[in-house]
Symmetry: C3
Subunit: 185 residues, 3 copies
């Protein structure tokens, strides 16, 4: 499903993925199945989204950024792919941008959530099912299931697979409800 006011230029996009108004998916972007790309979102060539990824409005995913299956990215959250950007047309930056050595990759692992208006500085890995609080600035790796908040982001707890904050880290990462459900399966 591609909205009539969206622009999709890649052929590498899975079935069931929806792209909403004023969104732009560039040629060379790779996008899995059953994703949801909100209004005014942007996916650049060289960016990779797994299956079931949600991009809320205004999110840009740049070359070098990989979002694994089931990742959530809140509205206006921002990725980067260059630690010391300059305008490439600046004479003193010309040499630097003559190769791709400036490109620093970022990976967000399965099921993680990036809160609204958060900033992810490139070079980090956000662990499986981690949770980045709204407005946080992430400057280093985030452990699986960790909850981080603030500027710079610091860990303040753990979250369940479902997103709920855990009262304590109890050997696994299940909240009471999900743990019971898991045991029944």
């Amino acid at each position: 499903m591609v909205h009539e006011l969206a622009l999709v230029e890649t052929e590498c996009i899975g079935s069931g993925t929806r792209v909403w108004a004023f969104a732009h998916v560039c040629a060379g972007a790779r996008i899995g199945k059953n994703c949801n790309l909100g209004d005014h979102s942007y996916v650049e060539h060289g960016a990779t989204l797994g299956d079931g990824v949600t991009l809320k409005n205004g999110v840009c995913v740049w070359e070098g950024v990989t979002l694994e299956d089931g990742v959530f990215v809140g509205p206006n959250a921002v990725f980067t792919n260059d630690l010391t950007p300059r305008s490439p047309r600046l004479p003193s930056a010309k040499l630097r941008y003559s190769s791709k050595n400036w490109l620093v990759p970022t990976r967000v692992r399965e099921g993680a959530s990036i809160g609204a208006n958060a900033t992810i500085i490139c070079g980090v890995t956000v662990g499986e099912y981690a949770f980045i609080g709204a407005g946080a600035v992430v400057t280093k790796d985030v452990a699986p299931h960790a909850l981080v908040i603030g500027v710079p982001a610091k860990q303040v707890g753990w979250v369940c697979f479902c997103g709920r904050k855990l009262a304590e880290q109890n050997g696994g990462f299940w909240c009471e409800d999900c743990g019971e459900m898991e045991e029944k399966c």
Copy 2:
């Protein structure tokens, strides 16, 4: 006045309201009179704007968010409506999104201003004529006429109806100029 490159799908929109290029107002959004919705703004079904509201560019107003009359929202300021978002397509989040229990409302009262690039975590009420500083992350209720800044946002003063910072909280909330004007009326 709807720009020819805007998309307005609601019928519930008051007279005198202007919607600018690449903005999207969804069916089911309720918008009052004489509002101004900047480029790349977005108003979701279930969102409510009073009269005379200003949304600067890139602002999204989600289901569950109510902006009362005369509210100002600065560029790229961000609202939320879910405290622990996960991608709804994630198996471990499926149960959670099978109902609307995840939805947490937010209310911004008459005349308040939300600064540029601020983040409002859902569940809060921003009081009448309060002022949220640019880049602040609001995590709890804000008192009427309060000025809050920082991450997380903390109160550092009071503001007049006109927006000016008050030297001291003087029983009312009028700056010298507005107070004189008020007495004359």
Copy 3:
């Protein structure tokens, strides 16, 4: 080069400047040569961009903001031009918006970089080749070649013309590589 889904209304735009999809350049904006304006960017009447400026996606440049030659602005970074904004349709703000006295200019000098999702509060000057860290909130002037980060932004070091952090401020502002190159010239 103007993308077919962009909207360019100014005639004051230099040769070699590229404007990408869903971007909007208003009548009365002044834009130099060889700039690059990303998707969903916006340049208002009364805004000025020099030559070789890069605006990444979602950046708005308002009336009163001047970006000199070779400035880089990261994705979703935010400028402002009013220190105490209210919705102009609010009765208590009507007097204030009856003139242009509310307008506070901002200047970003040659070669400076504004990091992703940073917020620049109006009235400041960002010095030549300064570097604003991602997510920073700039509340006062930034010295040439200074590196500032955090909320509010504080200086934590110096950067070279090329953007690299300098181990120490050594009388000039050259990193080892650029210094050698400069000596050869």
